[in-house]
Symmetry: C2
């Protein structure tokens, strides 16, 4: 059994090129870039709520940081620094080493320095805080959407929730589809480049970690607008999945780290070019209207109105 201090020294003290002072003091010290605003977010992952007890610790390390970088991406911020606070039932070296490997893999991929943290004993819980920078006035806020905006979503929403259903034996996916769904669930890829590129193009953005319709609802409430969503314009459902389950996962599954955003119609060609440049599909799946703030009308494959029972996931709902 290693001590708390040894564990931190061994696994969480890599060089921090972007910090004045990294782990090992009362605080980390950083110098923000002149003239930049900071975007700051914190997300807690709890065993049994956000991940299963047998989750590969390396993937969990990646995901714990990735979900925070997704929040930075949704604001259009460039990620720079992260802090980790973790509670563990025991100081198991192999678990911690594997977790650190995944965490630093994500940090390295996105140019983030892990500058500090806290380690303690208790039920398994990982809390990451991430800080990014963006020029003043350029943030993609939830409250910037306007009537007439197109509504867009990136990637393949719903795969993570399908993967979870497969893991929990609520459905049975063929191997290849299961692999890609489990990758979405266990090793999500935050849309950092997309977020940076949307500055100046999008009016509002959000990551759809609570479910596509639930998070759309947050934009609508904050911006005082309504939305019409056309499922025929969303990405095609995976052919080998139960279509009812797959649609529910796509609209309300949660744990997706794609971006939903609104942008004026005159940006369509720029957004198409951006999708090609990033090799990331962007789906124009609806538009915003000025009446009934917060309302979402969803239309089916044939244009018929759909009744929506659930918009997303609420930890206490």
């Amino acid at each position: 059994m290693s001590s708390e201090f040894e564990l931190i020294r061994r696994y969480f003290s890599r060089p921090t090129a972007q910090a004045i002072l990294g782990p090992g003091d009362d605080c980390a010290l950083v110098a923000p870039s002149p003239g930049m605003n900071l975007a700051i977010t914190t997300d807690m992952l709890v065993e049994g709520t956000h991940f299963l007890p047998n989750t590969d610790p390396s993937r969990l390390g990646w995901k714990a940081l990735a979900v925070n970088l997704s929040d930075l991406a949704a604001m259009g911020a460039r990620p720079r620094w992260a802090l980790l606070a973790g509670s563990l039932p025991e100081a198991c070296e192999s678990w911690v080493g594997s977790f650190a490997e995944g965490l630093y893999a994500c940090a390295t991929r996105f140019g983030v320095d892990v500058i500090g943290g806290d380690t303690t004993r208790g039920p398994r819980n990982l809390c990451l805080t991430a800080i990014g920078e963006l020029p003043a006035g350029t943030a993609l806020r939830r409250d910037g959407a306007l009537p007439g905006d197109d509504l867009w979503v990136s990637g393949q929403p719903g795969l993570a929730a399908l993967g979870l259903a497969h893991l929990q034996a609520r459905t049975r996916l063929p191997d290849e589809l299961a692999d890609s769904c489990l990758a979405s669930l266990l090793r999500p890829f935050p849309r950092v480049e997309l977020g940076l590129s949307l500055r100046g193009l999008a009016h509002a953005a959000i990551d759809i970690s609570d479910g596509l319709l639930a998070d759309l609802g947050h934009i609508l409430e904050r911006s005082g607008v309504a939305a019409e969503v056309f499922v025929a314009q969303l990405p095609p459902l995976p052919a080998q999945a139960d279509p009812v389950l797959a649609r529910r996962c796509q609209l309300a599954g949660g744990d997706d780290y794609e971006l939903m955003f609104s942008a004026p119609p005159e940006k369509r060609s720029e957004l198409a070019a951006l999708a090609r440049r990033l090799a990331l599909p962007l789906w124009r799946c609806g538009h915003l209207v000025g009446s009934s703030p917060g309302r979402i009308d969803v239309f089916g494959e044939e244009g018929q109105p759909l009744a929506i029972e659930q918009r997303g996931y609420d930890h206490f709902g």
Copy 2:
């Protein structure tokens, strides 16, 4: 049962004068003051490890922020922003309301804006991140202590650990002493003003939350020096407590949010004046020497060397 979003809206959405954007978006947005460095810290409080299940939630709210402000104080940073991530077994309104009351009381007292966070379901766990500012190059780091420095500590270290021993019926304190020990334990007062005033006076500082000798050890290791500590120069032990327990609590108890710092002897009169101005006792309890980095020699009331069994508290030790 309220939803996660309602809870946040109701209890954690007070105005944030020091932020561009507070709770309710993917990230908070702030504008750092030009030319300032940021000090950033995160601390996790776990039920059963850091607080007892029946702890008054209002006091816990105060403490969760206070322990982070203590880390900022130990760097000499002025606290500005905080984020809260919390995991709760259930969305109990009265608990959350009372916790928020204590949290905002501490935030208001120290001029901090609570700018964001995360709420989720799980074993009770509160993770605060605090951010402060300080002029570049003025931070009170652990690695700045020099041989010949005096060693100082503020206030009355050991009361919190005595209070815990009383709560756990390992000792029995008279009512008045119990009250002051429990106040230290449950409503610690971070030494923010002291930390700010020590810039330019102290060479190194730390808060002694892990225990006086354990945290002194961190300064010694990082600075490559040794220390001689004289218990006769520490604050007198409370007369009505078991002297052996009280001394152990003072030297190694932990959960104290006093500052220990090193300063050159020529600052003694300035530090005496500072103690008067802050109405906070500062105890010159030893000095640093250049040999045997990390070594601590403790001398008893009559100057005899003391054998020290335990320096402090280690969550996995």
